[in-house]
Symmetry: C2
């Protein structure tokens, strides 16, 4: 994955979402889409996490496939998924805090970190278990770095 | 995108899903994830479709970004998203017909066609409007080729 591809991905296009380009139906659609992508992240992280914790035998091919999925999703331009009005104060069925839209620069920086951690995992996953475990710290940390400040408790 | 990457993507790993590796919670998670990916496809297709129909000015950069998103999702291994028991007879909130699990070879072939159509769109989208419009036929056709036989009516 080239650096330009990395830099074009994630939430970097988030500033676009500051313009109210969506009707309410599109808000629901955006929330459903981004939650589905998060769910897909979670399922693939589950594969890697189970190996990292020794709950599942290390399998280089399965780990690589899971890491490639995460990196592919991280590389997409998700700007359409974060329209104004899709925070938890304005919309149902979301835990996205309004602070996201107040802190574009910080969210974008954290998104870049996640894209970089996903790329590191894509290399590490197929190398060996120790590499996967090390990369898991970075990837898990990158997820939490956004979820902690910008997602409401369940 | 290399051919091996293309061939590793889509639903090709579907045969894996024939083993009942998921508890019920995982069924719901898989359905939510795949519907989110479909929603993200739809949002990006919406951008391309609006340009194709002249409802929105042709914008090579926006078209390329949308097409790249579609191709990235199409390139993922979605085998985890189609576990046995996640059809509309067995699970709530899905229109996936049981026939999907009876016809792996056909579903996989149609998935490959969709991956190829997405790759063609990725090239066409940034070329010019006429190319985008032509590629839209292939991509729309590839979507419908699976939705018509394998998705229950709303």
């Amino acid at each position: 994955m080239s650096m330009s591809r990395i830099l074009s991905g994630g939430l970097l296009g988030l500033a676009l979402a500051a313009t109210p380009a969506f009707a309410d139906g599109h808000i629901d659609q955006a929330i459903k889409a981004r939650q589905g992508l998060m769910q897909f992240y979670a399922m693939n992280l589950g594969v890697l996490g189970a190996m990292a914790k020794g709950e599942r035998d290390y399998d280089a091919a399965a780990a690589t496939a899971a890491a490639a999925n995460i990196a592919a999703i991280a590389g997409t331009d998700q700007s359409m998924l974060w329209p104004q009005g899709s925070d938890e104060m304005s919309a149902d069925n979301t835990r996205a805090l309004p602070d996201i839209w107040e802190n574009f620069a910080d969210v974008s920086a954290k998104s870049d970190d996640m894209v970089a951690a996903a790329a590191a995992m894509e290399t590490a996953a197929g190398t060996d278990l120790a590499s996967l475990q090390e990369a898991m710290k970075g990837l898990g940390g990158a997820c939490g770095a956004c979820h902690k400040p910008y997602r409401a408790p369940e």
